[in-house]
């Protein structure tokens, strides 16, 4: 099955700093989602992005499917951005479940 690698595994930022999270995947994908998992375990949808670039407030994402990677940009980070960020491509033909990376744990300190 598809392999998903996220980097860095851990990231500590001062409030107000910018960051880039990376997701590499081993096979072609039909779609890809980014999530933020809050401290209570809920997965919050950030982006649904098979290719190209999308922006939502201080967050933006870019997927380059032909090169098998996606990037999540967080600008002007806030303490509420803390948590774990997951990248999850849709696995492949006929298999519509998501395959998750191990996540990037982000800690934003005031």
């Amino acid at each position: 099955g598809i392999q998903v690698e996220q980097s860095p595994p851990d990231l500590i930022l001062q409030e107000g700093a910018n960051s880039t999270l990376r997701c590499n995947f081993s096979d072609s994908v039909n779609n890809l989602q980014w999530f933020h998992q809050n401290p209570w375990g809920q997965l919050i949808n950030l982006f649904y992005i098979p290719s190209g670039t999308k922006q939502n407030g201080r967050l933006s994402a870019t997927t380059v499917a032909t090169e098998r990677y996606s990037l999540l940009y967080i600008s002007s980070s806030q303490t509420t951005d803390s948590g774990v960020y997951f990248c999850a491509p849709h696995s492949g033909a006929g298999s519509y479940q998501l395959t998750f990376g191990k996540g990037t744990k982000l800690s934003v300190i005031p």
Binding site: N30, N31, Q33, F35, W40, G41, Q42, L43, N45, Y48, P50, F86, A88, H90, S95, Y96, Q97, L98, T99, F100, G101, K102, G103
Partner: protein, 113 residues
């Protein structure tokens, strides 16, 4: 519009017992997915239901099973509980099958003693 709901929030069982977890999808969604997030193992796909049928399952033993009801809600049953079944179980729904966006519920935290 209501999101995906799951019940119960927490569940405590002992080894050998059975657990039943429930999920109600977003209105209009017909596909339901179950995922397990166990400590140290990450988020893993368990089961996928669409239009009342099991369409795919992950690499889990047969004691993990479930079903989808005519109203598209779903339940996950775990028989003969083992300590390593302790995990957060997340349900997601999407509009139909294919590569549509999945939305997750808040999860059920299962603890096996």
């Amino acid at each position: 519009e209501a999101g995906v709901t799951q019940s119960p929030t927490h569940l405590i069982k002992t080894r050998g017992q059975q657990a039943t977890l429930r999920c109600s999808p977003i209105s209009g969604h017909t596909s339901v997915y179950w995922y397990q997030q166990a400590l140290g193992l990450g988020l893993q796909f368990l089961l996928w239901y669409d239009e009342g049928e099991e369409r795919n399952r992950g690499n889990f033993p047969p004691r993990f099973s479930g079903r989808q009801f005519p109203n598209y809600s779903s339940e996950l049953n775990v028989n003969a509980l083992e300590l390593e079944d302790s995990a957060l179980y997340l349900c997601a729904s999407s509009f139909g099958a294919r590569y549509n966006e999945q939305f997750f519920g808040p999860g059920t935290r299962l603890t096996v003693l």
